[in-house]
Subunit: 358 residues, 4 copies
């Protein structure tokens, strides 16, 4: 392997800067479940110029295991240990939703920048208190809508932003899971609109570049009757009207036989853009009875793993440059507002204006 490849490979990923011990950013992690560990791994192994200094989880053995695996020097069962750590400049809140507001406010009170998983909270009043605390503290808050950083969705947004397809008229989002979660999960999830469609609400806003004014939602429990008995639905269709006249239609289902189904199409005055699912390979088999390819990547940890890394880099860039985060607290709030409106629209079978909800 000779030297010329260095010059030629101009599209190479940005080289990792060597360690900068003096001004190295220190972070703390609250919640070491699945998504918390993804962020820990990325911070410790893929983003070497920062340092994950402390981790907390209500289950101390989980916090300890995470610390040992990734070489995090401090761990605790108490999130306040992380938040009070003077070395920590920014925190990642990956604990259960009903604790988000509490830790956002505590972190803001300590002057620490905040990355918080979605949804910010189920309760709009709590969200508003949190956002006020963030604003008063002058810290950065980024909401964990990772899909904005997926290369496919990002390419669609780029097309809209660049005018590549003219003025957008219609957005269509398909978002289906490979299998429904257990009923215990459903019971605490806040309902399909708050738990699953919330990603699509954010995506629609991201792509439309405007605010939603009215929501019409329908759906039912077609996958599992027990989900319906629990007061939730597993198959939903939502129509969003934006202030700039764009209309988005969303199709959700908790179960797609072929796996994780995550697609979007935007149609505009100058053309359209659509994305496909991601696949484990590009192979096409020409068989005796069909032309086929393998199923798409099965679930979010496969499809979106890269987006979690990119969103974390975006958060760190915002913190270091003191510029606004690309996914603000307002973004986190609006998705929750739309989810409430969708729920009411479904319950009352009528279009609901966002002003009715919050």
């Amino acid at each position: 392997m000779l030297a010329w490849h260095h010059e030629l490979a101009v599209q190479q990923p940005p080289a990792y800067p060597s360690a900068m011990p003096d001004n190295q950013l220190h972070l703390g992690l609250v919640g070491a479940g699945r998504i918390g560990r993804v962020h820990a791994e990325h911070l410790c192994r893929r983003i070497p110029e920062v340092r994950l200094a402390a981790v907390a989880d209500v289950n101390e053995s989980v916090a300890m295991a995470c610390a040992q695996e990734f070489g995090i020097p401090e761990w605790s069962a108490d999130a306040r240990k992380v938040l009070d750590n003077p070395e920590v400049q920014a925190v990642l809140i990956c604990s259960p939703t009903d604790t988000h507001s509490q830790w956002i406010e505590a972190a803001a009170a300590q002057g620490k920048h905040i990355f918080c998983e979605k949804p910010l909270d189920f309760d709009l009043g709590r969200i508003d208190l949190s956002l006020r605390a963030v604003k008063e503290a002058g810290v950065i808050l980024q909401t964990g809508f990772n899909r904005r950083f997926d290369p496919n969705f990002a390419r669609v947004r780029q097309a809209v932003a660049d005018g590549e397809i003219g003025t957008p008229h219609q957005i269509h989002i398909i978002s289906r899971d490979p299998a429904p979660p257990p009923l215990e999960y459903i019971a605490k999830s806040g309902g399909i609109f708050m738990d699953m469609t919330i990603h699509d609400f954010d995506m629609a806003r991201f792509l439309a570049g405007a605010e939603v004014e009215e929501v019409y939602a329908t759906g039912s429990a077609r996958v599992e009757a027990a989900i319906g008995k629990a007061g939730d639905l597993d198959t939903a269709e939502v129509l969003l009207k934006f202030a700039n006249g764009i209309v988005a239609t969303i199709e959700n289902c908790r179960q797609a036989a072929y796996g994780y189904d995550q697609r979007v199409e935007v149609f505009g005055s100058g053309g359209g853009i659509l994305i496909d699912n991601d696949y484990p390979n590009t192979a096409r088999v020409q068989g005796k009875s069909a032309i086929y390819r393998d199923l798409p990547l099965n679930f979010f940890m496969q499809r979106y793993i890269e987006s979690y890394l990119v969103e974390m880099r975006a958060f760190l860039d915002a913190v270091r440059s003191r510029r606004p985060s690309p996914v603000s607290g307002h973004d986190g709030r609006m998705a929750v507002v739309i989810a409430h409106a969708a729920r009411r629209s479904w319950a009352e079978n009528r279009p609901v204006r966002l002003s009715e909800v919050g």
Copy 2:
């Protein structure tokens, strides 16, 4: 993000085992150029259960920079420092081709397992001496044909191995670079067959599961006249006849206007399988004058980056389990033999049997 996702995401990548300090494998790196640094990064950040203990490069500042970036404790301008390090159990040889044989033999003499970049050597006599040394030492030698570990090519091989397309009849390989290397590189490259097509020779053998018996090669300098004046060609077509009757056709070019072009198709009695290039996203734009998508990933560091990680894991698995490497020294040798035969075929414009060459 609640707990059920843990259970559901069954296709998740294998969890990293926690550090095993007692039986942790220690490696050394010889050559810290571009590809050496890729392996160093993977060993230090993506494969935490092993330890890269030492690095050498004839340019000591390059060795030192690599050591500092990835936290390698020892560095040197002298490869023997790595090879003689008693802590080092396996070495990666990423130095210029004309030094490969020397370091293979030295490593074997120390009883160290060896990963060596391709080609093993230009000279078959030197390769044979190296392979004998490896055999006598009883160490594992893996040749760096990373493309076997690319998910697309691996899927094609799987289809062949599983009988998914019946008995293979024909293989077609397209392999084109985005731009030709500088003339100084060409001069030391061993020629297009040894430098570029050698990957395709290995791929053809990998997919055919058989040995080549005869080669017919043609081509010329169509991209740059200077390459022709230097005695090389930049556009080549090669036909390989395998012992099991399969015929492979290869198309090479040093310059494809649309970027890196790496595709293969295998046709068999029960069907066929073909792969496409990898793209940065799946977006399809429906524009005013065409339906289009972005260009494919531009060059090998983008297209094959994952395969370098997988090949390293395969090497480590072989070392730890004391099982044969999936890309043996024989594999490394045969690709060189075919390259010599192709060169002669091109020069004499006649089919050349491998037995004429080596």
Copy 3:
């Protein structure tokens, strides 16, 4: 070209039977505009076992030109000449929409089978009178929803009918024209739901295999302000709820920059099926700045030309076998009912049940 090809080409299209003068079916054509001429050409040149015996058009020179071009022995400015012709066993009504009911009733009174272009009428009362006349006369009535016979849509329906995708949950239809019609056309069209979406209403019913219960429609004039001033819309989104729980979403636009956009996707418990547009060729160009293909077939006469032939064969099969037509008068009526409901939903911005309309 030797003989074996005869035997091998088992999938060949059905051979044309030689002429059967004694029992040859005789047809008459009312309306020799664009679509009438398409049917005339198919009957005279592609379906030689039947005979087009007479043609009428209010513009006698149009009727004469059609007769001369296709060798139709009789022509007239008076549709009654065709309907009263004792030789004529079945008529094709391709005249303007506001005359459909009149000619359906007249044909039924003469005991002639009827193929009528869509929509049957704008007025539901007129449609009901027509359908009663057809029923009392015991003749066959087929409505001209040609898209059901397009090979792409037919394949989707087959997948649903065969259970290939399990129980259908969601249908998504994209239907966009390459350019809006002139304002004079808009004024007489009955509005976008009656003129354009009516095809999609029928397609949704065809694919769902059930009746619509409720409609929610929205949209506006985004392409041409003048269309909005004329009381119509050019961009629409419609949501249909079926009796079996399926929900269909429809996206319409009078102008797609890339041409005619006709796609559908059905999602079910066992998987999904989606179709793409038809293209003039399969060529993919790998260019310097993008990978691209030519625009899709531009409008309905290109995309659906084959479906007009197949629908005519289906009508003739029904007539000859005295079996029900595959697109009944009820089908024609229901699409109009849904169009009225959609219009009301749009005007009142609320879901409208079909029972409110008809």
Copy 4:
């Protein structure tokens, strides 16, 4: 269906002119087998401005059946009846290959223009006599290489001719049949190069826009041992070197499990272009174990049916305008020359220059 569609549908196929009895071109057909009947149907039903005046077939009942089906006024068992018919201005020679030369010369002697199926003859001496007769008579001769008129291949040629992909470097042709013909057919076929690859030889010349200088061919009987015993091969790979430096590789097989496989790719200095097979529909099924679509169109009568119509129109245009045919007698001859060279190359396993053969 109102009037505006007339104006909008600008891409509509050319309207059929009304009959022009005075200067209507009259044609005769020699050979009413499968391909002869295809041409008869096109002339009688799809190209109404010409007249098929007479048909001959050595089997008179075949000639009569063809005449009755398509309304051809005269039929005979004697080709000379067609050739001597003073009304006939141009003839279509669709009889067995070994009679082609005889009827070409007879038609030329009568001053009639000639369309002749491929191959012109197996014997180059006979071809040369025929071409001389054609030249001396000053009539037009078109060889039946219909694939040039297929929209996919035509698009590729257009890209080359327009410089859309720069200077062509490499051509790759895949041509595989769904099933081998019977052994009796093989025995009379002239061998795979003369019978099957001949289409690809013409396609390579068509796309390259240059003459072949040297051929290297290999292959064997892998599908059916009996084909090998009969002295033929069923799987072949051919490499063609063109005078302008382009190299074409061809892959043939008499049996593809997935049906008729007809693809081509051209790579040039400015990019590349490739075509896919044609499919019966665009539907993609997302199933439980794979993403799949239906098999491609099965054989030449499905895939190329449109191209037969277009080639006939091209012949008629040439005749009417007295301009050279787009597929000349020279084109017909060169494909036979290349087939002979390929056969010799295969037999002797060496590159063969065309100058050695003819």
